[in-house]
């Protein structure tokens, strides 16, 4: 009878490696990223140079910040689909108000709708318990509508991209994109907030078990409202950065970033059901997506084929990552 007993067997190297990676989920993600870069380099030798790195960073940064919004909201079991609209609104308002307003005033005007939309999202989700998907979708529709009404009033005055945003969005200093000046503090702040502050703890707790948090004295609506306002503010700032990068204020400027921002957070290991995840993974997720976009751009194949490939790669990356991290 005892002969079948499982003695703790000597752990094989493969298992040890797996456990090592499972405890440090960032490592497999970084490896995936490196693999993609290597493939890119093989396909187009010489492409991976200083300039390419800077460009990749430039595009990954706005995506990573928006994905940060998704990470934070997803930790509570939510999602923020209004980030695209908010970013677009801030960018458009900034570009049109700067024409005949003081930069500070223009900035404040640009952030106003962000705060408002975030607040309404927060109240809807936190107090009225509307599903975040629906709530943020609704506010983004409303926001878009207001933006279009607003747009008609500023056709005559035109738009201008402030030099500062231009510098921030596209400039380089010693080969490093200036956008890092914005991103590094933001990223540090988010990571610190999630791991080392009471508010961050509450995001995880609320997303994992709202009733438990409530019994511990947490007021759900406060956390949620603060969260969505914060998310919107970050989205608004991203909008300003993005307009500095793209330099063409359109009414759908940041819309294409919304789905990728969700994907980046998920690829980075944040659970859409709440309670699990972190921002470092998300940053790598955003980089992976950006590199992947480049990779597909330079592939000579019909657009249909490119999209199919993109879909499969995203699926493969997330599945492989989950496999590595999940098994404990």
């Amino acid at each position: 009878m005892t002969d079948i007993a499982t003695m703790p067997q000597p752990v094989s190297f493969g298992r040890r490696l797996k456990r090592f990676m499972a405890d440090r989920p960032l490592i497999p993600l970084i490896i995936l990223l490196i693999i993609l870069v290597v493939i890119l380099q093989i396909l187009r030798p010489g492409i991976v140079n200083e300039r390419w790195l800077a460009n990749t960073a430039k595009f990954a940064i706005p995506l990573a910040i928006l994905a940060g919004c998704q990470t934070m909201t997803m930790l509570t079991g939510g999602i923020d689909l209004s980030v695209g609209t908010v970013a677009t609104m801030s960018a458009f308002i900034m570009a049109t108000q700067i024409v005949n307003q003081d930069p500070t005033v223009a900035f404040l005007l640009a952030m106003l709708p962000a705060v408002l939309i975030g607040f309404v999202n927060g109240i809807g989700v936190g107090v009225f318990r509307v599903h975040p998907l629906i709530m943020t979708l609704g506010t983004s529709l409303i926001g878009t509508g207001f933006l279009q009404v607003y747009q008609r009033t500023v056709i005559a005055s035109g738009a201008k991209i402030p030099d500062f945003l231009n510098w921030l969005g596209t400039g380089l200093t010693y080969g490093f994109p200036n956008a890092l000046l914005l991103f590094v503090p933001v990223a540090v702040l988010i990571v610190f907030m999630l791991n080392r502050t009471g508010f961050g703890r509450l995001l995880y707790a609320v997303g994992d078990n709202e009733r438990a948090a409530r019994l511990s004295g947490v007021r759900y609506w406060q956390v949620i409202t603060a969260l969505y306002v914060l998310s919107s503010l970050l989205a608004g700032i991203t909008g300003l950065l993005y307009i500095g990068l793209i330099k063409a204020p359109s009414l759908s400027l940041a819309e294409p970033l919304v789905l990728p921002s969700v994907a980046a957070a998920v690829i980075g290991g944040t659970s859409i059901f709440g309670g699990r995840g972190g921002y470092m993974g998300t940053i790598i997720g955003a980089l992976i997506l950006t590199v992947l976009t480049t990779l597909l751009t330079i592939l000579q194949m019909p657009e249909g084929g490119r999209r199919i490939l993109f879909g499969f790669i995203v699926l493969f990356v997330t599945a492989a990552y989950l496999r590595i991290v999940e098994d404990r």
Binding site: L202, A205, N209, R328
Partner: protein, 514 residues
């Protein structure tokens, strides 16, 4: 043994990563016997049940059913093989009504209804959605659903843990009859009273391995405990009257003073005091308003009438955070209600520290670490599986729910059935802990579904029936017949002539009272 075992499992092992939930478990069940499966919290009982019924797959081991090796890879397979479990957690689909739940599992309806009546629930509406049904009733429905298909082997994982005494007794009765009818039952419980009243043999697990199989006979408890824990433990009576005197120094306001509390039809005119340094027990049958009383004191629901005073000052709680502010903490009976399962033990314990708006800022990690490891040590929480709380066994999870409030230094703890499904060793620890807290001048309100606990820890007992306080005893007067009588709404001294009270004391009580 002459008969062949109906179910025979040997060498079962299961690893969760680095944690071995089962190392070498074996279990052999004869036809017609009620077989106890015993072990301390985390010994692997639930894991074994899940493996036997196909809910999880073992890493190693051999399972024979009627001498044949069957491939049980899913609960559906187990069902076909005649193995039916009632798991530790209710498994009715919350959003379906009872009828649909029956249709889903292909359970015949009439036998089910009959069993439900037999188990002491006369007026079940099978169109009720499972989500709206109280936990205790759900457990009974789970059992009735299993019984209705007349399984060969019925596996009951802590079936009685969440049941009030009256329902638990019905369950025991029914289970006993299963054995008489030639069907086998595997019965998991931490209550020796039940084991000795019901079971023929017991298999004891320790740390994932079977350490012995014994016949149940008078006096065997000590041996089982020894096997379970590996050492002798002393069953002490912790209730220390002397501690009581310290807390209620004259003249000061009671810590909590409840007057004429009213809550819809659930609570009527409830009044009582809770002094500093006092442990007050609440005893009641299922659904007499105790849930609502605790919820109201914890700020989860707003009472419709009456007053609550804290330290002599009137208090109004519109949210649990108000109660927490007033130093009143609530430990729910259902662990899943109290814990963020995917978060670490540390985060769970430290959760109240960040709750208030003022405390959203940076955390002083070092200080937190000291406080948290302090309580972990004090409660001897098993953190072999550092990391997610969901990987702790039930008993250790329960400890975390209490540890949180000790760390937060709450002055009053409302414990709702804190020993539900906890092994004897851990129970003793919790009793001691509660007394210790009282000794430090803290006050505890303690609801329990086990009569014996009342006597072990409380200074006073209040009994609730139909949403009213029917009686309050000092603990010396609270012997079991008196408590039971009061719990059925009969005042002290009245004669028990109502039918149901005739068998209030099951035969086994005599042994248990020792």
């Amino acid at each position: 043994m002459t008969t062949n075992p109906l179910l025979d499992a040997t060498g079962v092992a299961k690893n969760y990563g680095a944690v071995a939930a089962l190392r070498n478990a074996s279990l052999s069940v004869l036809p017609g016997e009620v077989h106890a499966l015993m072990g301390a919290n985390g010994a692997g009982k639930s894991t074994l049940v899940k493996i036997l019924t196909g809910a999880i797959n073992a890493d190693a081991g051999r399972i024979l059913i009627r001498g044949k090796q069957l491939d049980v890879r899913s609960p559906a397979d187990a069902r076909r093989a005649g193995l039916l479990p009632v798991y530790q957690e209710p498994s009715l689909i919350p959003d379906l009504d009872v009828l649909s739940n029956l249709r889903l599992t292909g359970t015949p309806i009439e036998p089910f209804r009959a069993w439900v009546r037999e188990l002491g629930i006369p007026n079940l509406d099978i169109r009720d959605t499972a989500r709206d049904i109280p936990l205790a009733i759900l457990r009974v429905l789970d059992l009735a659903r299993a019984l209705a298909v007349e399984p060969d082997v019925l596996l009951l994982d802590e079936m009685t843990a969440a049941l009030p005494a009256n329902l638990a007794e019905k369950v025991l009765e029914v289970v006993r009859r299963q054995g008489d009818a030639g069907r086998s039952v595997i019965f998991i419980s931490h209550r020796f009273v039940e084991i000795s009243a019901l079971c023929d043999r017991a298999t004891v697990l320790r740390d994932g391995s079977t350490v012995g199989v014994v016949d149940i006979e008078p006096g065997i408890e000590e041996r089982i405990v020894e096997m379970m824990l590996g050492t002798r433990i002393e069953k002490t009576r912790v209730a220390a009257r002397s501690a009581n005197d310290v807390g209620t120094v004259g003249g000061r306001n009671p810590r909590l003073s409840v007057r004429n509390l009213q809550l819809g039809t659930k609570l009527n005119d409830v009044s009582f005091d809770l002094a500093n340094g006092e442990v007050v027990g609440v005893f009641a049958l299922e659904g007499q308003g105790q849930d609502e009383l605790f919820a109201a004191l914890a700020g989860s629901i707003r009472p419709t009438g009456g007053t609550i005073e804290v330290d002599g000052a009137p208090a109004k709680f519109s949210h649990p955070s108000d109660a927490v502010q007033a130093g009143i903490a609530y430990v729910p009976g259902d662990r899943t209600e109290a814990l963020a399962m995917q978060r670490s033990v540390r985060e769970n314990i430290a959760l109240p520290f960040s709750a208030g708006l003022r405390k959203w800022g940076p955390i002083r990690m070092r200080r937190e670490q000291v406080v948290v490891s302090g309580v972990i040590g004090r409660l001897q929480i098993d953190t072999r599986v550092l990391g997610e709380v969901q990987r702790l066994s039930g008993g250790n999870q329960q400890k975390v729910t209490i540890a949180r409030w000790i760390a937060a230094n709450a002055r009053t703890i409302l414990c709702f059935d804190p020993t539900r499904g906890i092994d004897v060793g851990t129970k003793q620890e919790i009793y001691k802990l509660l007394r210790e807290l009282a000794g430090q001048g803290k006050s505890v309100l303690f609801y329990t579904s086990e009569m014996e606990e009342v006597q072990r820890v409380c200074d006073r007992v209040i009994v609730i029936f139909g949403g009213r306080v029917v009686d309050t005893f000092p603990v010396e007067d609270a012997d079991e017949p008196t408590l039971m009588r009061a719990a059925y709404g009969l005042p002290r001294g009245a004669r028990a002539d109502v039918g149901i009270l005739a068998d209030v004391r099951p035969a086994s009580d005599a042994e248990a009272a020792s």
